[in-house]
């Protein structure tokens, strides 16, 4: 029996785990965007770029299994595995989003910014009409990187019982069953590639006109 026959046989469980995986990644990405985008924008207005990006860098270097472990004793988070997994994934997704938002906006041609200010745009008009649209390609690239990272890291979430495709992988490792490992790894890889291609297309569409 090859791995695809195996996956067909267990398709109910495969699809449950895929949905769990997508849910974990999706919620984490929404949270990471909701936090990272405003934070990245704020960094272009204030002078705390270094400490904030430094902190996000440090978070990124913590091994994922260790991060899940660190968060386990946290009072509200530790109570449910999915909360904990989502928190960890959000922390991982933050860095690329914050960094690309900051770099994208800071990279807008200063002459464009000056022209806009000289025409009497307020700071928020400058942000919404000029800076964000012009840096959207770079920001989406950050979301894309973060999503791909998240799809991968989310497989570790199974280690703390949060579900997702890591279930198959951990079970396969424990049972020394390659088919089981692949049944988790192949859909996870497909999700990562799909997110990458989809967001890549969005990134190109945003820049298509100019």
């Amino acid at each position: 029996m090859n791995v695809f026959e195996f996956m067909m046989k267990d398709r109910a469980e495969v699809s449950t785990l895929v949905l769990e995986h997508v849910w974990l990644v999706g919620i984490s990405m929404l949270l990471a965007i909701a936090v990272g985008l405003p934070l990245g924008i704020m960094l272009t207005r204030r002078r705390w770029q270094k400490p904030v990006i430094g902190l996000a860098n440090v978070l990124q270097t913590i091994p994922s299994l260790a991060l899940f472990g660190f968060l386990l004793p946290a009072p509200w988070l530790g109570a449910r595995a999915d909360r904990l997994a989502i928190t960890a994934l959000t922390l991982y997704a933050l860095l690329p989003i914050i960094r690309n938002t900051y770099v994208g906006i800071a990279g807008v041609d200063p002459a464009i910014r000056e022209a806009a200010r000289g025409m009497g745009l307020t700071d928020s008009q400058l942000l919404w009409r000029i800076e964000l649209p012009l840096s959207m390609g770079v920001i989406i690239a950050g979301v894309r990187t973060a999503t791909v990272i998240c799809v991968g890291v989310a497989t570790i979430a199974a280690a703390i019982g949060a579900g997702g495709l890591g279930e198959f992988i951990f079970r396969g490792v424990a049972m020394v069953n390659n088919q089981l490992i692949l049944a988790g790894a192949i859909p996870a890889a497909a999700l990562a590639v799909g997110a990458d291609v989809g967001l890549g297309a969005l990134e190109r569409r945003l820049k298509a006109r100019w």
């Binding site: 025409m119 009497g120 307020t122 012009l134």
Partner: protein, 258 residues
């Protein structure tokens, strides 16, 4: 600047303006100059002479270290910077038209910020595009990357004029254009200026352009102004620095006719 009081004084006046950067270097020293309504005043000088600094003090992109800049009878520091800038057209080198906006949205930006009704903006955009020689039907929905350098510069001028500001600031607006396009757009701008009679402050390092467009020329060197001169006075002046400019200009003329 709609609703501003129309005083009889100069449109713009520098009163003993010094601008110093951190570290104490003065980019502009004790500049005193009055710019009359409807004139085209040229700020001429080499790079680093302080001419762009002088320009940016008018729309309060910079604030004087000492002295004051009076626009329409009021110190720039007493203007709300946003209101001040909406009443001043601003054109800079490379015509920074916004690359993600169509020509129509670029030209209509300030009227849109001023919350004009859509119909009026559209009519105004068409009028402005006609004025700068870009047929609206052909150009309205193009993006800046589908325009030549000269066309982008025209869009920049149309945009600066769209909300009908009484004052226009131009910072080497034609500097990046090829010589033929530049000559063409300079002639057009001169004709346009005669029709519109805006108060124009125009920064350039090109004496030819200064003589062609200026009603008066203020020469800046290391932050200190000489003049202002009318073009005829400039050519006759005995000031050694002015003579240097004129000699370099005549030399260039001789070379190009040789």
């Amino acid at each position: 600047m709609s609703g501003r009081e129309r005083s009889d004084g100069p449109a713009i006046a520098y009163r003993g303006v010094t601008y110093t950067v951190d570290g104490g270097r003065a980019l502009l020293r004790e500049l005193t100059l009055e710019i009359a309504r409807g004139e085209t005043l040229i700020l001429l000088g080499r790079s680093g002479s302080g001419k762009t600094t002088a320009l940016k003090l008018i729309n309060r992109l910079l604030e004087p270290t000492s002295g004051e800049v009076i626009v329409e009878g009021r110190s720039t520091l007493r203007w709300d910077p946003i209101r001040l800038r909406r009443g001043i057209g601003y054109v800079i080198q490379e015509a920074v038209v916004f690359p993600h906006f169509t020509v129509e949205r670029n030209v209509g930006l300030v009227p849109d910020l001023e919350k004009w009704p859509a119909e009026r903006i559209r009519a105004r955009v068409d009028e402005m595009l006609e004025l700068v020689g870009l047929p609206p039907a052909e150009f309205r929905s193009r993006y800046p990357n589908q325009l030549s350098g000269g066309q982008r510069q025209r869009v920049g001028i149309a945009r600066a004029l769209a909300a009908d500001p009484p004052i226009l600031l131009m910072d080497e607006p034609f500097g990046a254009l090829d010589p033929l396009t530049r000559a063409e757009i300079q002639r057009e701008f001169r004709a346009l200026q005669r029709r519109l009679a805006k108060t124009v402050v125009f920064v350039t390092h090109d004496l030819h352009e200064a003589l062609l467009l200026g009603s008066r020329i203020a020469l800046l060197e290391a932050g200190v102004m000489r003049g202002p001169f009318t073009p005829a006075e400039f050519l006759r002046s005995t000031d050694p620095l002015v003579r240097e400019y004129v000699a370099a200009f005549r030399g260039g003329e001789a070379e190009s006719t040789a």
